[in-house]
Amino acid sequence: MWHIAKRELSNNLNSLRFALATVLLLGLMLTNAVVHLREHPERVQRYRERVSGHQNNIAAQASNSLYDLAQKGPGYLYKKPSDLRFCAEGGEAFMSDRAQAGYHRWSTDTLKSFWILAYPSATPNLDNVRPDVTKVDWGFIIGYVLSLVALLFTYDSISGERERGTLRLTLSNPIPRHTVLIGKFLGAFISVSIPFILAVLVNLLVISTSSGVHLDSEAWGRLGIIFFVAVLYTCLFLALGMLVSARVQRSAVSLVILLLVWVVFVVFMPSTLASIAGRSTSSGPTYDFSERSWKLHEELSSDYYSRHYEAPEGSTKKIEIDGEYVTKDAEQQEQLHEERLNRRIAEVHRARAITRISPVTIVQNLIESFAGTGFERHLQFLENVQTYVREFRTFIVDTDSADPESLHIFGVRTGMSQEPVSPESVPKFEDTLNLSRDFNTAATELLLLTLFVLVLLSGAYLAFVRVEV
């Protein structure tokens, strides 16, 4: 077996395709590293500035009074840019990098609306008249280029030998067929891995030696997983190549079939399926949303005003009615925003589920998950935001109940603690990534990918064992 693998390897190493693949992958990975080094420090810098601005904002309100803090809320919460952005760009441009934990709607002479948690959409860059192209990230390099290279290394592995007649020669020796197959597979695998590993090493070398980007140990672990995913994905295409190569008499036909399969599954499936899934469902136009929001507020207001004027002036009852109005309104509106967000997320989930038929989508989703970018990461960010918001609200309630002078009526200035709060005690938002969570979300896809590989490998085995030489 090792003998066959070695023979395949030395055959491949001297070939034109090996040289071309090496040059191609190296060039792509270098571009990727250079672009990352150019863009990432800027991104991190911007994030830091925003976060410190946000902290100052909280401190200013906290030193005013607890009411101010409770009414204005913590303000914008920002998504932390991932250090592994070079692995997967993940459509980050279409997802907002912030959540608005301080969305104000109205104020009257005596009352101010309480903040709610809103989810602003990403603002598309409409100034950009430059042509739109795919970002050269690891996802692209692995998903598109590496898969093509894997096919180009295997399309003639069996049919080529059959054409030349050497297959008959090999099989006349007392070696079982599966050994031949595994040997060939290993040989092709190693010869694809060499240029890829070389390119990855150069890429990481450039990125890690630069002072602008810092990769911690967890990031290296994540890179390891991404590399493993890439290897699995390569195996899938190697197996596919061998399967077709075993079934087909001529290697030219084998390549034509493989290329067409590749084009359909890798290039077209993801976008077409997503479009079909996305267009078939619609979550209702935007103006409906503002109308509903307005209607809810109106209903609540008319009810409130009748009760407000009945209550005697200056009584605790009146404060209670005011407070109830403000808090109820905030609750309702926040729920509306959350409902819309959930509807949007559900729609994207549906579209993503369908596109999983294509292996390239699976691998790109996996890389995104582990690189900390993309849709799953966005969901995690939103979860972090919601956890933080709960924490913040508990903090407000606790601080208020600690003040004996407060009436403990939320929503109105007179009903709440007027004491300033020490800015240090206010909980701080931290956008953290959780590797085990990433594993959980990625598990299905990881299994699906493994399943694909196993099916194709056994398919290749069966095809090769059954076939006449």
């Binding site: 792509l28 034509v256 290329l259 077209f268 267009r279 729609e347």
Partner: protein, 500 residues
């Protein structure tokens, strides 16, 4: 010659790759056309809603100065062929007398679910770019190398046929074979388009499609010739195929995505933006001084632009300022519903003031535009132009540019809309002059008669004529043709010189 063509044609038609090509093209084009028509319909609904809302908003405005006019860019029905910049750039812009609108001031209609944009969508040109080029190479790789391997080339050349004729026959027959799946899929797509009720296609549109198909054929031929060149250069079909695939991967997948990432942004542009923005700010300062001067010299003492009248209603004075897009203007409007009886004698003065001020603002806007236009060209359009030129090193880039020009979704096509919006601004200003709106009471107040918008001409945007599309597409089409000729000559020279 004809016998040669017939032989080649029969050879090609009976192959597996021909069947596969037809199947794949039909599958991809039909399924994507259905999706693309759906997408277009959705955008059309968005557009119609926006037009209706903007119309209603204008009718609700009771004074002339408060009128916020918005014009909307309809989606291009031919964007199904090449989406270009149709979805990427803003599709609604405000037309205000005190500001000249550009592409960089446009906004986007709201969308149901912005996150769905993470899924890329593809157009027919993309299918052709990727699949047709691949098919062309698959058809071409063995034309010469294959015959050489089998030894039939030697046989053919023993006959008294000229080598040029052999090449030409091979080229013609393969192109005919490749045209079958192309034309079949395109005609199915066109049938789908014409049966869809939401798409209104004009004669010009069919001519544009013809231009698109013509460009596609020329593009296809470039890739076929590239494959033939590789085939002429190599001894073995295996090597030819391998080389073809890498060449394809490089030109189609890698080059367009890599080249734009590797060019550096220019720092000088930002400095230029800052200095132009300064200039514009100065113009406005000057304008404010003139305003003060007027208030000082008029018959009413004091410099109060409100002339001390008592009123009830709303007013707006918003500064729109964006250093990145060189946007700087004040938007002023009043919506006075009630005027204090005692202030009535002041009204003629305030009317005179606006009769002086508004034409001055219009003039200022035009002057600002003269500074802003070349600066925007420098900052935004030129880098985009350089990008496009770099992309044109690959036949993909040429094809993309030419087809976008044909269907009118290129940058120039989108900018046509904004020139129409600018033209419409002039119409609106003329409308104001006709009504003598600036000096009228309805400019600021709606207490005695409201603004009359009924005679305001409607905005309509006609896409540029087919001749303009053709002029824009021709340079790139020409470039593709030249590439064809050069490739053919090179192949001919190589083929004539080689030993069989």
């Amino acid at each position: 010659m004809l016998t040669l063509i017939r032989r080649e044609l029969l050879d090609n038609l009976m192959t597996f790759r021909f069947a596969a090509a037809v199947f794949i093209m039909l599958l991809l084009v039909v399924s994507n056309t259905v999706v693309l028509i759906k997408d277009y319909e959705r955008r059309l609904v968005d557009y119609n809603t926006a037009v209706k809302t903007h119309h209603q908003q204008l009718q609700d405005k009771k004074t002339y100065s408060a009128g916020g006019l918005h014009v909307d860019r309809p989606p291009n029905p031919l964007s199904i062929f090449n989406i270009g910049m149709d979805k990427q750039l803003g599709n609604q812009v405000e037309v205000y007398f005190g500001f000249v609108p550009t592409l960089w001031d446009a906004k986007m209609h709201g969308s149901d679910n912005p996150i769905m944009n993470i899924f890329s969508s593809i157009d027919i040109a993309f299918i052709f770019k990727v699949v047709l080029s691949l098919l062309a190479l698959i058809f071409a790789y063995d034309t010469l190398a294959g015959e050489r391997e089998q030894g039939t080339l030697r046989l053919v050349l023993t006959h008294p046929v000229r080598r040029g004729h052999i090449l030409f026959a091979k080229y013609i027959s393969a192109m005919v074979c490749l045209l079958v799946p192309l034309l079949m899929s395109v005609s199915l797509a066109v049938i789908l388009l014409t049966t869809s009720t939401s798409l209104a296609l004009s004669t010009d549109d069919f001519l544009r499609m013809a231009g698109f198909i013509l460009t596609t054929i020329v593009y296809l031929s470039v890739f076929y010739l590239i494959g033939m060149l590789i085939s002429a250069l190599t001894r073995r079909t295996g090597t030819a195929l391998m080389l073809s695939m890498f060449v394809w991967g490089f030109w189609v997948l890698i080059y367009p995505n890599m080249i734009l990432a590797s060019i550096l942004p220019q720092p000088t542009v930002e400095a230029r933006a800052a200095s132009t923005f300064n200039q514009i700010e100065q113009l406005w300062e000057e304008f404010e001084r003139e305003q003060e001067q007027y208030l000082k010299n008029d018959a009413v003492p004091g410099e109060d632009p409100g002339f001390g009248i008592g009123w009830v209603g709303g007013s707006m004075n918003r500064l729109n300022k964006d250093a990145a897009t060189l946007q700087y203007y004040y938007k002023k409007g009043f919506n006075i519903t009630e005027i204090d009886e005692r202030s009535e004698p002041q009204m003629p003065y305030i009317q005179n003031y606006y009769q002086f001020l508004v034409p001055l603002t219009i003039d200022l806007a035009d002057r600002t535009w003269r500074i802003r236009k070349p600066a925007l060209e420098k900052i935004y359009v030129r880098p985009a132009l350089i990008d496009r030129i770099l992309l044109k090193v690959s036949p993909i880039g040429m094809y993309d540019a030419a087809t976008q020009a044909w269907v009118g979704t290129d940058l120039l096509g989108i900018q046509d809309f904004f020139s129409a919006a600018r033209q419409y601004r002039k119409t609106v200003i003329d409308f104001f002059y006709d009504k003598n709106a600036f000096a009228s009471r309805q400019w600021i107040a709606a207490d005695k008669g409201v603004a009359d918008w009924r005679t305001l001409p409607q905005f309509s945007f006609q896409r540029s004529g087919i001749s303009i599309n053709a002029t824009r597409a021709l340079p790139d089409l020409f470039l593709l043709l030249i590439t064809n000729v050069v490739l053919f000559v090179v192949i001919f020279l190589i083929f004539v010189k080689t030993e069989v």
